[in-house]
Amino acid sequence: MNTLLSFDKVNAYYGNAHILHDFSIDVKEGESLALIGRNGVGKTTFVNALLGQAKVRSGSIRLGRKESARWHPYMPAKEGVMVVPQGRCIIANLSVEENLLLGAATGRKGYWTVPKIYGLFPILRERAHTPGTALSGGQQQMLAIGRALMGNPTLMILDEPTEGLAPVIVDQLGDIIRQVNEQGTTILLIEQNLHLVARVSRRYLAVEKGSVIAEGIVDPEQIEQLQQFVVV
């Protein structure tokens, strides 16, 4: 299978704070991968390194056919990698629909269009013309996912999408993420909620102190074995 995204021994910094240590990861086309780990181990820094927001001093990042140590934040989207950022980052002065249109900025064509997103999340159609940040937390997360899908990604990275959401909504989002994966979009789910990981992901990587320390297949029956990587 093709590798969509790979980090090879990446060392990433904020200023002089060394956060990622020889961080390596391979994301294969079509898979549904989870990146798990406690707060502060460097999961979001991995995303930031990809977006050029954390400084990569050694190692390389490869996206599709492109390889570089210095990515600009707008480049991954052009290569078909859309991010659902931690905290959702819905743009306050844009309506729900405008937030969706922003996701189509690369002009990549594919299955996803505004009506398709409304089909997936009917509530967004009802609230199309309200400011994006007027939605509830769960609805904002739907909007963030819809916005990322509008870029017709080959890979969608979700950074703790269920943080602060009610369990019913978590299950609902989990089903949708799985459905998106089954339609062919590769998923990289960054999570601490193992219940969601069991529902969505088939492979996991565990992060500790800025490095990947374990990996394996997700067995939904024995998900509690992964507890050691997320509990404090």
Partner: protein, 283 residues
Amino acid sequence: MLGISIFNGLVYGSLLIICASGLAMIYGLRRVVNFAHGALYMLGAYIGYTLSLYLNIWFALLLAPLAMGMIGVLLDKAVFRPLQERDPLSVLLVTFGLLLVIEDLVRAFWGRGSLSIEVPALLADSIELFGNPTPLYRLAVIGLGVGSMVLIWAWLRFSRTGLYVRAASTDPLTTAMMGVNTERVNALVVGVGTALAGLAGVAAAPMLSLAPSMGADVLVDSFVVVVIGGLGSLGGALISAILLGQVQSFGTIYLPGLSAVLPFLMMIAILIWRPSGLAGNRV
């Protein structure tokens, strides 16, 4: 008398809104307090002067803003972008330096004497409006102010690029993450903002005499407009430009001794009433 004052206030308000909306846009995207904006207004007027000598005033009104737009894009790439990680105060000082450089360059090219541009023949007449003789050119300046505002509003509201501009003004990183090359958006906006300064300058030129220092008053008034309007907000700037135009127009007649400080008094009064300006939000 009253009618003429209101009218003149509207003319000045129109120039102000063209100039100040450029300032507001540049602040909204780049977070740069651009002290050179008045000098760019002045440069637009001088470029317009030369174009009107060699071509005619209509070409000047069209080409001077275009030339200023290109200067703006260069300004963004050569100055604002390299300085974007620096603290706002040093960027402010750099723009202050730019102001001095532009004024010196203009003195070197065009001399110190005051120059003037003829009102275009087509608009040289006056018409009766509410019983007052009203110069057509001044009326056209109001039209230009209204027209530019409608165009900018429609551009921001309905075009794709306008969407990116609005998004980048609140959350540049997320906007970029969605695949928008925000550096290009920034360069475009600084270009448009500079073009607007140039447009205001060349439009004002036939109503006054050109001097290298002519940007100073407009700069101060534009800052007042932008601050009163709510930093970076175009809607707020529109209202405050109309207000300030009236305050200036009536002030010079009824309170001539105070006319220099009136804009500041107005700014203080409004900021006490609404500390974040008339409109709190961005672009």
